[in-house]
């Protein structure tokens, strides 16, 4: 420990005054503990929840869980897995097409005022509660069309839910392309489209892809808009205008069955387990993509 050194002239001693040093060391240590505690509090529910779900989902998780439709009090999640993938595929396709084009428009083509209004609109749409979107989808795509509950309505409604996220990341991705790159491309004789296609798009790609994956992860977890549009079924739909099952709906339908119908609750836990697995895969993909491109584009944003 530092101690005032009497051989030094006044003003040359660089050590702390005695009491101050102890206080400083103590403060450092306490702050360290508080931060660690906060970290544990964040992680604990995640780990605990995963354990709680796995404990109930895994012991009876077999091939049949994936391959069988749910019948009576038995069966598996087959139709719900396919329904989820079907709805997610539809909604991702719709939301990507619209979101990417809209983001490209605000970032590259729209006059500044129009772009700002567009961005504001995106924020507002992102803030609309999912159940309100569901109600809108129900009114427009279920009642008004006379199609009744159907898979397509679920896909479109979920697509509308996902659009603002993809729109925002695309807009951001293109506005973040360094202006230098545009000047250089135009000075080489590129047209605006050639610049977008050959220079801006590859740079914006990783951000856009992350946006799409994150929107998928968010959409995957939504229940309310689907209950109001895709309805429910425990068989695989033969066409898009039939209702379908989906994993979130399985939890919603079966979570509160009394334990005398134990298998229903198990199905709900297994659906929850699958949802988590898919979300983890999506999120890990985002990280892998981001890291890959971060290396590749290092130096570009300097």
């Amino acid at each position: 420990m530092a101690v005032a050194n009497p051989t030094l002239a006044f003003g040359e001693d660089l050590s702390y005054a005695r009491g101050r040093l102890l206080v400083r060391l103590g403060v450092d240590r306490v702050i360290g503990w508080v931060l660690l505690l906060a970290f544990v509090i964040v992680l604990f529910p995640l780990v605990d929840m995963l354990g709680w779900i796995a404990e109930r989902a895994l012991p009876t998780f077999t091939w049949a869980t994936l391959a069988d439709n749910q019948i009576g009090t038995g069966g598996g999640l087959h139709s719900m897995i396919l329904g989820t993938l079907l709805i997610l595929g539809l909604s991702t396709g719709i939301a990507t097409a619209i979101g990417v084009l809209a983001g490209l428009y605000t970032a590259e083509f729209a006059p500044r005022r129009v772009a700002e209004v567009g961005r504001l609109g995106g924020y507002l749409l992102a803030g609309v509660p999912a159940i309100v979107l569901g109600y809108f989808g129900f009114y427009l795509l279920v009642l008004y069309t006379g199609w009744n509950y159907n898979t397509l309505a679920g896909g479109i409604t979920l697509g509308i839910f996902m659009v603002p996220f993809i729109f925002r990341t695309t807009d951001l991705a293109f506005t973040n392309v360094p202006h230098d790159q545009k000047e250089a491309a135009l000075a080489m004789g590129s047209s605006r489209w050639q610049y977008l296609y050959r220079v801006a798009f590859p740079i914006a790609m990783p951000t856009m892809l992350s946006g799409v994956f994150l929107a998928m992860a968010l959409g995957l977890g939504e229940t309310a808009p689907l209950l109001l549009t895709a309805g429910w079924s425990n068989t695989v739909p033969t066409n898009l205008l039939e209702p379908t099952g989906y994993l979130t709906g399985c939890i919603w339908n079966f979570y509160d069955f009394p334990s005398t119908f134990g298998h229903y609750q198990t199905l709900a836990f297994q659906a929850a387990f699958l949802l988590i697995v898919i979300v983890v895969i999506l999120n890990v993909s985002v990280q892998v993509i981001a890291e890959h491109y971060r290396r590749k584009l290092r130096g570009l944003f300097a």
């Binding site: 360094p178 230098d180 790159q181 545009k182 000047e183 250089a184 491309a185 135009l186 000075a187 080489m188 004789g189 590129s190 047209s191 050639q194 050959r198 220079v199 590859p202 740079i203 590749k296 584009l297 290092r298 130096g299 570009l300």
Partner: protein, 321 residues
């Protein structure tokens, strides 16, 4: 095509286009393209400057701004050029000739309009919103702001290198191939021209072992020379360089300057610099710009040692800047 250009003749006579019969279309000097129909503000017939249009006898080579007959022919001729940002004149009444196989330096204090001047020469001013360009700029006798001029062809003939190296996030090879791919050149042509351009830019020996590494991994100096190679690949006649060494260390600067000496054998080189030693080292002619006005242009030695204007003298002797 030539007729369309002829229609656009603003107020200067110009000689017929020298197109060699053997030249392929994209190598030809004719910048016109029949499909191009953009209308540029510059096609407005009346120049905003109060001065009368120059007399018809005022062609390249005979102008008071060009030096005696010993000079190589002029490739770019600037006459009564004004650039406006709103009500503010960024460039006022610039008259300047740039000759083939010469290095011309443009010097002047920062903010005097050097960058703007060279950006007018390949119509990059159109990319910055809010700039109005008036006057006449001719490339080999063609008004580059004419209605029939295709800016894509213009920008490939008049290449540009920026202050900060701006490589694309592609491989070294693909960076140089960029303009060739835009022109849909065949694979063999791309291959040969990429190697040739890298050699001209003095990069081939350094990089030949791995042309497919990312250009972003190169040093700043290498990146800047890669930008030069990229511009050379599409067969330019003129190279515009905007303070190309201001972000480089002395040894990288040295390499770029050496390269300029090589390049001027074939190209007209126009370099903006606010480093007067650099201008003195590399340029045959130097133009001094001050507050948007061309104060003086002359052979470099003369401009530095025996300037005609008081203002030039105080600038080159470092009394302001």
């Amino acid at each position: 095509m030539t007729a369309a250009l002829e229609d656009e003749l603003s107020y200067l006579p110009r000689p017929p286009l020298p197109i060699p019969a053997s030249a392929k279309p994209r190598d030809a000097e004719d910048l016109g393209k029949s499909s191009f129909s953009g209308v540029h503000p510059m096609s407005s017939p009346s120049p905003p400057s109060p001065t009368a249009p120059p007399s018809p006898s005022l062609g390249a080579g005979s102008s008071p701004w060009a030096s005696p007959a010993t000079r190589p022919p002029s490739v770019i001729t600037v006459r009564e050029l004004w650039v406006w940002a709103g009500k503010k004149a960024i460039l006022s009444d610039i008259n300047l000739d740039f000759a083939e196989r010469e290095v011309t330096a443009i010097i002047g204090p920062s903010g005097c309009g050097k960058t703007t001047l060279i950006r007018t020469l390949n119509r990059m001013t159109e990319v910055s919103p809010g700039l109005k360009v008036r006057g006449s700029i001719q490339y080999k006798g063609q008004d580059i702001y004419g209605r029939a001029v295709n800016p894509v062809l213009l920008r490939q003939r008049v290449g540009m290198v920026f202050q900060r190296p701006t490589v694309f996030p592609l491989s070294v090879f693909e960076n140089v191939a960029f303009g060739l791919r835009l022109n849909r050149e065949s694979r063999d042509v791309v291959e040969t021209k990429v190697v040739d351009s890298l050699k001209r830019a003095g990069l081939y020996e350094e990089l030949k072992d791995n042309l497919h590494r990312s250009a972003l991994t190169l040093s700043g100096g290498q990146q800047q020379r890669l930008c030069i190679a990229r511009a050379l690949a599409v067969n330019p006649r003129v190279l515009l360089l905007d303070e190309p060494t201001s972000s480089l260390d002395p040894s990288a600067t040295q390499k770029v300057e050496d390269l300029l000496f090589e390049l001027k054998r074939e190209y007209a080189v126009i370099i903006v610099t606010h480093n007067m030693q650099q201008a003195a080292r590399v340029a045959d002619r130097t133009a001094f710009l001050y507050q948007g006005k061309l104060i003086e242009v002359d052979e470099t030695k003369r401009l530095f040692e025996n300037p005609r204007e008081k203002l030039t003298e105080s600038y080159v002797t470092g009394r302001f800047g």
